[in-house]
Point group: none
Chain length 405, copies 2
């Protein structure tokens, strides 16, 4: 792909063999020091990670770019070896991934919000009073039942939660040259999907037609009497992970968003566990059939988002306790890292570099004795962009040919 010189280079050097690589993502793993108490990794009792770190290389990665906080989509794309600044995913596609909508190459997706408009058509509540998921589903059923699809276009809706939904237009030759209709303020009417420079787009005309129909269909609703759409985006047409790296991949992930990102790069889903023990067990099972397994553990992020330091520590210790089962399967290369940091003190994703551990053949000794931010910073891997992690694992697994004679 243009602009991806490094990825293209690695792809040109990739060679197949039967060595196995595991990428264990502990979502939101990195932390700040929690007011002097140390990071969650530093506070946790992790005898198994400690032992592993003594025979592993340590380092840290930058998910997108210095000082940039990644969303889950870009965070995982970087880990999968797709530079998130080159492989961009539109808002609509991320929403579709979040509800695990099976996008095809003929689809254009948008994020849909139910909202409330007054008689003059001005938006009075951009979230339609935060309707319940059930109300959302009922209103979408109403749209599905009554909407007349524009010629040559199939229209699909999916509930996300509360006022949030996904709309997908499917057909040949659709484009994403469609104006956001969400005015992002109250007191103004929704914008036109066909305003310049979107005025010559067939897809924008279809969207304008659909939104006008929705206004009529929903007019008797007390709250959700209108929809606005934004972030129209085509499902990307990228080289698959298997093509790109000559690996046979599988995803082990309990949450829809992460399965969605995996599918975006053509990675099939092998299992959907959520606890650390199940994640490790399913990873071991998937390793029997695949040369690459992406394993996702959600709760280190969730506890960070909740501002729950003790919870984050406990979730790290949960994974530590589960680790021996994974180690017993002896993958040739084991990577443990996060897709970004989620410090409980921030209650959200952050820009901090993310701790990184790699157990592999041909190291320069082990960097332990602990797996935590300070030792990672001084480790032999150094501080690298996330997109270099998979290539590095491939090098250690003998999956990259020499460059030049």
């Amino acid at each position: 792909m243009d602009g991806d010189a490094y990825g293209n280079l690695i792809s040109s050097l990739a060679q197949e063999n039967d060595r196995r690589i595991v990428l264990l993502v502990m979502d939101g793993l990195g932390d700040c020091d929690n007011g002097g108490g140390g990071t969650a990794l530093q506070m946790a009792r992790t005898p198994n990670f400690d032992g592993l770190s003594r025979e592993s290389a340590l380092g840290q990665h930058v998910p997108v770019a210095a000082a940039v906080t990644p969303g889950s989509g870009p965070g995982h794309l970087g880990l999968f070896g797709y530079d998130p600044l080159v492989y961009r995913v539109g808002r609509g596609v991320l929403s579709a991934l979040g509800v695990e909508f099976p996008l095809t190459k003929r689809d254009v997706a948008a994020r849909l919000n139910f909202c409330t408009v007054d008689r003059a058509g001005n938006v009075t509540d951009r979230r339609a009073g935060r309707i319940s998921d059930a109300e959302n589903r009922r209103a979408l059923d109403k749209l599905r039942a009554s909407v007349r699809a524009p010629k040559g276009v199939e229209v699909l809706f999916e509930t996300e939660a509360e006022h949030r939904a996904v709309m997908v237009l499917r057909g040949e030759g659709l484009d994403d040259n469609v104006g956001d209709t969400d005015p992002q303020i109250t007191g103004a009417p929704p914008l036109s999907a066909t305003r310049p420079p979107h005025d010559r787009s067939r897809t924008a005309a279809a969207v304008a037609d659909l939104i006008a129909q929705a206004r009529a269909i929903l007019s008797d609703e007390p709250k959700a009497n209108m929809i606005v759409a934004r972030g129209f985006a085509r499902a990307p047409d990228w080289p698959t992970f298997a093509e790109r790296f000559k690996l046979d991949p599988a995803a082990v992930a309990g949450y829809p968003m992460y399965r969605g990102v995996a599918r975006l790069v053509g990675m099939p889903v092998a299992a959907q566990p959520t606890t650390a023990a199940d994640v490790c067990a399913e990873t071991v099972a998937a390793l029997r059939k695949h040369t690459f397994v992406f394993a996702h553990f959600k709760y280190t992020d969730k506890t960070g988002e909740d501002g729950d330091v003790a919870g984050k520590v406990a979730r790290i210790e949960e994974m530590d306790a589960a680790l021996p089962a994974l180690l017993a399967a002896a993958p040739d290369v084991l990577i443990v890292t996060g897709d970004h940091s989620t410090p409980p003190s921030i209650r959200g994703h952050s820009w901090h570099p993310v701790p990184l551990l790699m157990k592999a053949p041909f190291l320069r000794g082990g960097d332990g004795p602990r797996f935590e931010e300070a030792r990672c910073r001084g480790g032999q891997i150094g501080t690298i962009p996330a997109r270099e992690i998979i290539p590095l694992a491939m090098a250690h697994a003998g999956k990259l040919q020499k460059f030049g004679a």
Copy 2:
């Protein structure tokens, strides 16, 4: 050159003075930990490198890109300050360098293999039974004697070893738009040099003619009864090292490949020593006439390729013992590094960052007390792309002007 913004910047700032820089390349210097025993540099007794490291800056360099294992050509180009991803060398040119063939700008070079074909013309042995060097020379003499050169083209052959040789076409207006004729498998005939998209190339037509002639000329040979060619490449037309950096360079190298890469950037060869003592002595001699000397020591790579840890340690100690003679000449800047790592445990080149030492004025203290991978990782130079080494040495030698007023 396009795509080489950094190199162009440095070139625009270069200024001449009489300070002298030595680049001592201990080929394949870096290592892994040899199963816990440590790297060869860690195991070696190196009192002279130890002393030098106490008054030097340490660091490590990445020859091509993260996770990428360089061949000798790209590895040295990086050290010479030519980004190997921008300054690409085709297979044919590398083969020509390997036998020190003096390429001109009118040349197109290809790697030639003798092979065996059956009566139907299908390849039965891609290496012609690995004929001896003597048989190779005899068969090439036969070709030289009988081949009728296509109009306006001179054809030159050079033995490499066993079944391997180099073919060079010389003439005005030749191109490298020529199909590989090596089918890379047995049981199939050689490919046509003029197949699309090579069908309109005058050079491809000349190659097809030559290969047809070779088939007839070699038909009575028991093993080497055919040739196949691949990697057609023009001799590159790059700025010379002297133009680029305003340095007066010389190469001191005992092996053809390294003299070849030096000549590729216009660096004349001053001497061809092989032992560490001779490399140092010839470097001292060359320093009397040149402001830059590239000195190459092969055996740290050769022992690594042989999987010989003790041998690699001994070769490092050999260079350590020779070092005082070089230090006595007091070059203004002395760089010691490798073109890549060659861990004996891998028995080949690797992707690992390469230890780097620079003795120079204007350091931030010395990084010793030893010259080995772990201290290099933590040294003041940090981890840098190979192409930054020459600019850094030039800065310390006062050979780079200020950028902006």
